[in-house]
Assembly symmetry: C2
DNA sequence: TGCATATTATTTGTCGACAAGAACCCGACG
DNA sequence: CGTCGGGTTCTTGTCGACAAATAATATGCA
């Protein structure tokens, strides 16, 4: 028996239906922040005693996570955190770019005043994270910022796909931003400001261009980081 | 106690992990074919005795269906088949059109010989259903045809969204094709043929145009059917 | 009779336990 | 020395039962 790497949680008493959501949210964050490494096994009984509840709600949370592709389940065998697929990332980049464009464009068309409040708040949180040099918060608030834009576009189908892509992106970014580069984040803040301005001005064409540029820029960054990482591995 | 509208299923003996998949597949088909009407309540114990198994696997299947948005769950209260949202369908149409375009275009670019076999087979099944005037089979095989094209595009993110949209579309079509119009299906067969030809020729631009045209045509058809239905309701 | 409240009933959420597969260990045999 | 087989252990899938939360019903009072 090896010691659990994750801290035990104090759950003195909980309400009837909150258990699943609690486990789901926490596991999801741990997976997206790479606190749970891709490929690492997930044991139901271990989680059960960690959260001090039965296996049933644990199981339901795992089923949900599996539905979103965050964990993989081998029948009658182990279940583990879904691996990141480095070999063919172009489908991911294609989908991410298209969703950046579409959601930003739709936001420029369908936004309402209350949406702008939320978007501005998320942008503020992201800027604060950049200022504080908190890589983990930067990644999370960046995803939240774009999710808020998508929300203003008011297309639940695009939103769900985009959320999934942003989640996947969180894991990639987390992987390479162990040591962060502080030049890039400031550029992101500026690009975000431009996107917000286009959305406020209801300039759909400009929003589309900015979304595309932002996506291509982030894709280039990830690819550059990946190549750099691989070089490092080879040089050893 | 009212009698169950759905037939009891004979399940003499089953293997260890097959129960969930069985229930999931069957319920999913019944929902998509409107055998289970939108808004109708789903009782766990009733399903349990219908499938002659415990509530646990039933519950897991329901959780999965809820994850795909096919059923809605009120906490601590009833769970029911998800309603069709007629009021704002434009997000649905927007997403469907975009996915038609993207998947067809990607299929023209990334297709392999073995993909064409599958696509041709699906197209044949659709044509057979049209010939047999089997509305239910037409709807299902049409969705399978487009899913096969999307598969040839090799982008799992687009595929999952497109599958969800096609499922939703199955429910709408099933609603209005109780009495089918035999002019439309033949047009679909022809348009499908043109799409296959463009995919074989690797003509991405043409594939995009055909995908867009096909989508807009089907959207127009659904809208026309909806208006006709509403007229009928008002005229009573 | 009408309304507020208490009681019952139904359905879901959670639990502990058992059994089926699969991995693991270990010895025997070629 | 490697491979096959049997037993063991460990994890998951399933079960029946209980408890909580809500809906439905009944009861009491003005």
């Amino acid at each position: 028996m090896k010691a659990t790497k994750t801290k035990a949680v104090a759950v003195p008493e909980r309400k009837r239906g909150s258990g699943v959501k609690f486990v789901y949210d926490l596991l999801r964050d741990e997976i997206l922040d790479l606190a749970l490494q891709p490929g690492s096994p997930i044991d139901e009984v271990q989680l059960a005693e960690r959260f001090q509840m039965s296996r049933t709600p644990i199981r339901e949370a795992l089923v949900r996570l599996a539905g979103e592709g965050l964990i993989d389940t081998l029948p009658n065998r182990s279940t583990m955190v879904a691996n990141l697929d480095f070999l063919n990332m172009s489908p991911f980049f294609d989908a991410l770019t298209l969703m950046y464009r579409v959601t930003t464009q739709l936001a420029a068309r369908n936004r309402r005043p209350e949406d702008l409040e939320v978007i501005r708040a998320r942008q503020g949180e992201f800027a604060a994270a950049v200022k504080a040099q908190d890589a983990l918060a930067m990644i999370a608030t960046n995803a939240a910022f774009h999710a808020a834009i998508a929300e203003a576009g008011r297309n639940p189908y695009f939103n769900s796909l985009f959320s999934r892509l942003l989640d996947e992106g969180r894991r990639f970014l987390r992987l390479y931003y162990q040591s962060y580069d502080d030049r890039l984040p400031q550029q992101f803040v500026d690009e975000h400001e431009a996107m917000v301005a286009a959305i406020i001005a209801r300039d759909t064409a400009l929003a589309d261009r900015l979304g595309k540029a932002h996506a291509e820029q982030i894709v280039q960054q990830i690819q550059k980081l990946m190549i750099g990482k691989e070089r490092l591995d080879i040089s050893l």
